[in-house]
């Protein structure tokens, strides 16, 4: 447990001493809830159309695949023309591209980042490492299948997939969202216990709240 997360006694500006339990007091303990669709299908379809046309990606490169995103951001492949753009913080993003192998240490940060994103949110697994471990199949510190830990909407196979493959993947992602099948956030909320159990099985020093941000 990190020092800043331990229970401690704090003296307030008025001189009153009180106990602070950071995990309980600074974060929300409520588990995620399933977000129902709009009250009528045509409205939900309109929402889905809007969501599919504004895919905002969290600029968090977890592995070597992050290098494929630079040419996509820049004029050569220019993903921005499809309404796809990269954002600096999880709060502003709705698509998380897990770009390549994910070590257990990075998995912890990826979970934190994913849980901070606003619903509806989507996850793309990029490269064979996220599918079955890829070339890290016998590694002691990388996870072998991403969908045990985060709800994955789409996988893009390859080692590494080229930027064109990513563009095609984004197009498929748009179709999924538009068809109302981008339900990763609800899946995560429904099976929250299962995901948490899987996450805690590989992250041994769990020193953060369960669902927190």
């Amino acid at each position: 447990m990190k020092e800043e997360l331990k229970i401690r006694v704090v003296k307030g500006p008025d001189g009153v001493e009180f106990e602070v339990e950071p995990l309980r007091d600074y974060y929300c303990e409520a588990a995620p809830t399933v977000m129902p669709g709009a009250y009528i299908k045509i409205v939900e379809d309109m929402f889905n159309w809007a969501r599919s046309e504004s895919i905002w990606i969290l600029g968090f490169g977890t592995g070597c695949g992050a290098i494929e995103m630079r040419p996509l951001m820049t004029p050569r492949f220019d993903a921005y023309r499809y309404g796809v753009q990269w954002r600096p913080t999880p709060r502003q993003a709705n698509l998380f591209v897990i770009s390549g192998y994910l070590s257990t240490k990075t998995l912890k940060r990826a979970i934190r980042a994913y849980e901070q994103m606003q619903s509806p949110k989507y996850v793309i697994g990029l490269g064979s490492c996220t599918i079955n471990g890829g070339m890290y199949w016998d590694s002691y510190n990388t996870i072998k299948r991403l969908d045990d830990y985060l709800p994955v909407d789409l996988y893009i196979a390859g080692c590494m997939p080229r930027p064109e493959a990513l563009l095609a993947g984004f197009m498929d992602m748009k179709k999924l969202i538009r068809a109302g099948r981008g339900e990763g956030a609800n899946l995560y909320a429904e099976n929250f216990e299962w995901y948490k159990a899987n996450q805690k099985r590989v992250i041994h020093d769990w020193d953060m709240p369960d669902y927190n941000w």
Binding site: K105, K108, I131, G133, W137, V202, H204, D205
Partner: protein, 176 residues
């Protein structure tokens, strides 16, 4: 390098010189003379830069080999000092007073090989691995595949082929 080796050989009990290139050589040195030799090389011979400190696990011999690679920037040459230490309860004196950067290498070696460096700053803390419970993963008796199978769920359907037999079956399916 030969000339340097002869000169150092008069001061310290050194092993044979292994010359990889004209400007890169390795020499083994007993554990107790390492610190004096490092100081001598740094202050007298111009090897001012610690390039790296790494370890090799000689499991069969029951020893760890530590390699201290030093660079002489002026003359563009490197020398590697090899120290053998016993594998059981591996401990080595810290050299963080000579090069502060060594502390980082020593933290890594403690975590990955389980070699202790008493007195080295923050050597007790986690370096790369978080919450590691098993034996240090770079030790050769650590079975990474077994660990991966036990700890991470695998996706079924992954199969591997021996390239030679696979191609034989592909090219000559009738024959055995």
């Amino acid at each position: 390098m030969r000339e340097l080796h002869t000169r150092l050989g008069k001061l310290f009990p050194l092993g044979e010189l292994t010359e990889q290139r004209t400007n890169l050589a390795f020499v083994s040195v007993p554990q107790e003379h390492l610190r004096a030799l490092l100081l001598h090389l740094r202050d007298r011979e111009g090897f001012t830069h610690l390039v790296l400190l790494t370890a090799v696990d000689w499991l069969e011999e029951g020893q760890f080999q530590l390699t201290y690679l030093l660079a002489d920037r002026k003359n563009a040459r490197d020398i590697g000092l090899r120290v053998m230490i016993p594998r059981d309860g591996a401990t080595m004196q810290s050299i963080h007073e000579l090069w502060p950067t060594a502390a980082t290498y020593q933290r890594e070696l403690r975590e990955m090989f389980g070699i202790d460096f008493p007195g080295s700053p923050r050597v007790e803390e986690d370096f790369i691995l978080e919450g590691w419970r098993d034996i240090p993963p770079y030790r050769r008796d650590f079975d990474t595949l077994k660990f991966a199978v036990e700890n991470y769920s695998q996706r079924p359907g992954r199969e591997t082929h021996d390239p030679a037999t696979h191609m034989k079956q592909q090219l000559y399916p009738g024959e055995n």
